[in-house]
Symmetry: none
Subunit: 252 residues, 2 copies
């Protein structure tokens, strides 16, 4: 990645740091311009959430960890923003779970697909799947094209920073979907099996650490964790948290 | 403008449509990369508002219409995102009011200024002012440079999608500021004379239509409308609306 221009002493250093990373991602052909807008939307929700990993996110991360360990064929989906923001941790996650990595882009671009693939290989990913002949016809966008060795075979799929179409389509196919989305009102957040309402750059490292610990837990305990989990409660808690933060900002 | 890639049948077509428009705006040199992130932030607040023009916005649009008709020297400010999102309606508004158009950018760029100017001329704008020798020294950014024939002479200025610095500086100079901002907590929203808390692509066409109707109203009636208006009530109503929407969603 190219150099980041913003000074470490800036009060909003981290936010500007990731913004610069994505702008560099555009220059390197990994991120789409639309990805920058999507990130901006996330930034606003992160601001409302308070830019920290809350209890509702930790609860979702724990259950996601259990579900990913229990999965028979877990697949981790990669898009432009994911590839720029947390590629190393994503590869770490795939190795830890023996999960498949698959590139799936909203905006069709074979060039960008190839660049993301090369970037992941360069960072140490052994295998990264691209879309082949399989299509999910209920998805309107380029995301309908999936890999026969990846999402098509998966029982659990991690799709962070997502649009709602694919989540709904995958759920309809009987698959379990884990998402990471800062917007609790998005279609993805509302439809997913597990919604981690947190910034991907905070959530993925915690997910990695939690999986490291949970891998030693008995299978029964992990199953119970998944069975007890209620995603709608987690979403309500996130909304209530934003509401109380807004009320705090209003009364200031 | 270049082609828009997203399918009309996509449930979030409109949101993706405007995202594509701005991405094309960057390719054409009209919008800055930072403008894409700023738009994303707006998208987040539009989600919270419910992506429709609410009563508090209509009330602000009505009063803004009256104020713009009554103005002696109204000026409509153009930035990168405005120039891409609603250029035709903006030119229509200027003709209807016999108002001046002035380009004012946060990020200094003579090239971009010139491109926006050419684009507006191409779309039928007769005259578009650029910054000349006048400066508002209390503004830190490039926005301090204004036109001696535009903002410097204006009594009422429309500055949509704005940062807070200029709003405050113009108000201090005794001018009236109308803004369009999806974030009711922003400095601009809090400081403006009239704050239209709505998406610019929804608000400007309604503003145009309202002005067409109000132009036939007696001056006294328009004056009363402006005198009765309380911007802090409108902001409180917007915040209360977001609050009730969140509470409704929590209880679902």
């Amino acid at each position: 990645m190219a150099k980041i221009a913003v000074s470490r002493s800036h009060p909003r250093y981290l936010s500007l740091f990731y913004r610069d990373m994505l702008a560099n991602g555009v220059k390197k052909g990994l991120t789409s311009l639309q990805g920058l807008t999507a990130h901006g939307r996330g930034e606003a929700f992160d601001y409302l959430i308070g830019e920290k990993t809350c209890q509702f996110a930790l609860s979702a991360i724990k259950t996601a960890s259990a579900m990913l360990i229990l999965a028979k064929y877990p697949v981790l989906s990669i898009n432009g923003n994911t590839s720029v923001l947390i590629p190393k941790e994503y590869i770490q996650l795939a190795k830890l779970l023996d999960a498949k990595l698959e590139i799936n882009l909203f905006h069709k671009s074979s060039v960008r697909e190839q660049k993301i693939l090369n970037y992941f290989k360069h960072l140490g990913a052994k295998e990264v799947f691209l879309a082949d002949t399989v299509q999910i016809t209920t998805i309107k966008s380029n995301r309908r094209k999936i890999s026969s060795k990846g999402q098509a075979k998966a029982d659990v799929i991690l799709i962070p920073l997502e649009d709602g179409d694919r989540t709904q389509a995958l759920i309809s196919l009987g698959k379990k979907v884990i998402t990471i989305d800062l917007n609790p009102l998005s279609r993805t957040a509302q439809k997913a099996t597990i919604t981690i309402i947190d910034n991907i750059v905070r959530a993925i490292p915690i997910l990695v650490e939690t999986i490291r610990i949970f891998q030693h837990y008995p299978r029964k305990q992990l199953l119970e964790m998944v069975q007890k989990y209620d995603n709608s409660t987690v979403i309500s808690q996130a909304l209530a948290h934003i509401d109380s933060r807004l009320n705090l900002l209003i009364s200031k």
